[in-house]
Assembly symmetry: C2
Homo-oligomer: 304 residues x 2
């Protein structure tokens, strides 16, 4: 199966703790790296993860709170020091470029590459990026400021050629691409060999949904329905449900309820408040509602 791996670089919230970095993740789709949020220390964690800096061309920022973007100057400057040449694309709600561009220009007098800012509206879902293997859309969330999650959807793959059948029917090599794309094969004698005989179906396309920071929001259900993996913030335990409401965050049980109602395969919770010495209580509360729950942790790697 081709790579579709999530790497957690940080899963804490705004206040630093002994155990967590602020939010940052990397999704590795067939060796293309997509960074999701970029809290302070993201470049340090990226180095520790041993992921290749040069494969990272796209950074998605959910919203303009410091714990989701203060790592950006470090990433941009380090890429410049390393002599990067490929464009780096940064997607965010409106305002990021105005805030960061003057500072980045000062600290990087000569840029070896082009930094391209893309601002999105946080009101409606929109397609931000697509290539042959994946597309990335926004998931509008509700927080104290414009905020979006991101949905990563693998594109349907090509069918797999059955080597035995292709040999049996002596299919010429130049026909293989058409067959992978679904065509039947017609022999020189005019006999039609059905595509289903010559191929096995591609693996079903995978989907990863990232939702942080937000109140629990029924409107995300349709977009994330059936996702292979849902990351949902779970800043607070049930005990601090009132605090969650006040600060436009979600409790672990509420995150699990979203996972359950959306029928996702697995739930990953994170963005933990600094008040918890460990997240056992959060895991217990979420798992009671949705058993397939995993706690995020720095350097955790999940195969989607």
């Amino acid at each position: 199966m081709e790579k579709f791996d999530l790497h957690i670089l940080g899963c804490g919230s705004a206040l630093p703790t002994m155990r967590h970095y602020p939010t940052s993740q990397v999704l590795d789709v067939r060796d293309k790296l997509f960074m999701i949020d970029c809290g302070e220390g993201a470049q340090l964690q990226l180095r520790k993860s041993r992921l290749k800096f040069s494969r990272l061309n796209h950074i998605f920022i959910s919203h303009l709170h410091g714990d989701h973007c203060f790592g950006l100057p470090g990433v941009v400057s380090t890429f410049n020091l390393l002599g990067r040449t490929a464009d780096l694309h940064v997607y965010s709600p409106a305002g990021l470029e105005k805030l960061f561009a003057p500072m980045l220009a000062f600290f990087n007098r000569q840029m070896s590459y082009k930094l391209v800012f893309h601002e999105f509206s946080a009101k409606e879902p929109s397609l931000l990026y697509e290539d042959r293997s994946v597309q990335v859309s926004t998931i509008p969330l509700k927080h104290r400021m414009p905020c979006c999650g991101f949905l990563f959807e693998e594109k349907p793959g090509l069918s797999h050629i059955r080597r035995d059948m292709v040999d049996f029917y002596q299919v010429p090599v130049y026909e293989l691409n058409r067959i992978k794309n679904g065509a039947d094969y017609v022999t020189p004698e005019g006999r039609v060999v059905s595509n289903s005989v010559l191929t096995t179906p591609a693996a079903p396309p995978r989907r990863y949904a990232y939702c942080s920071d937000t109140v629990p929001l029924p409107s995300v259900l349709e977009q994330v329905r059936g996702a292979d993996l849902l990351f949902h913030e779970a800043t607070f335990s049930q005990e601090h449900a009132a605090r969650a409401r006040e600060t436009f965050h979600t409790t672990a049980a509420q995150a699990a309820d979203i996972a359950l109602r959306a029928g996702v395969k697995r739930l990953l919770i994170g963005h933990f408040s600094a008040r918890y010495d460990d997240e056992a209580q959060l895991l217990a509360e979420a798992s009671a509602v949705f058993p397939e729950t995993v706690l995020a942790k720095e350097m955790l790697r999940l195969h989607v």
Copy 2:
């Protein structure tokens, strides 16, 4: 002996490595904390050090390279989230406020405390700060942009009262402060008891000098002469001496030569290039010139 402890939060240089954070240190002078440079991750390391955030009121930035100041937005924002009320003073060469203030204002819509920027000229040594126990001056350095080190000088302490002699001469309590400050005691009978009989001298004032980033610079010798501890950058080994010259940095042996010529008691080297897997070679080269050399390391604490 009263506290005069140096805590290393980060001792790498610009590129992130698996082992080092960018530059940041904290000097703890009698429970007042002075931060020296504030590279990315400084607040995370500060948390790990278990030093009290509320005791940190002064941050000294040597120069405006990212690896010395990208941690500032995180520190400022976290202090705000914690509801800090005391002023926070940030000292730097000209330009820092203009670069950071708009961003800090955006990310901290309501500040619970006052952030006060102080800009200094990097041309002449100048006194930046003083209180009853310590004074901080700039040490002009030579780098690719205006840059200063910092000299922390403890003020001479009061003499220590000799309890036995004070009892013997039945010195009244209200005389003790004068005696600590050097006065003799005159008995009711008019006999003069010399101060030297009643006291033991205060410990000699301690001095910590911080020099990063710079070419090896003879002009620092006078300022740092005899310091109890000199931190000097030692970005490169002898093998990369040419690279050190090009980038306005210092080799380990050059740092040790400065220490030797300045007659300091101990040398601490840091700001290590990312190219070294460990710093054994740097330590060997420095120690050959100046045996009392110590390698900086994250979470190292040195009693000055």
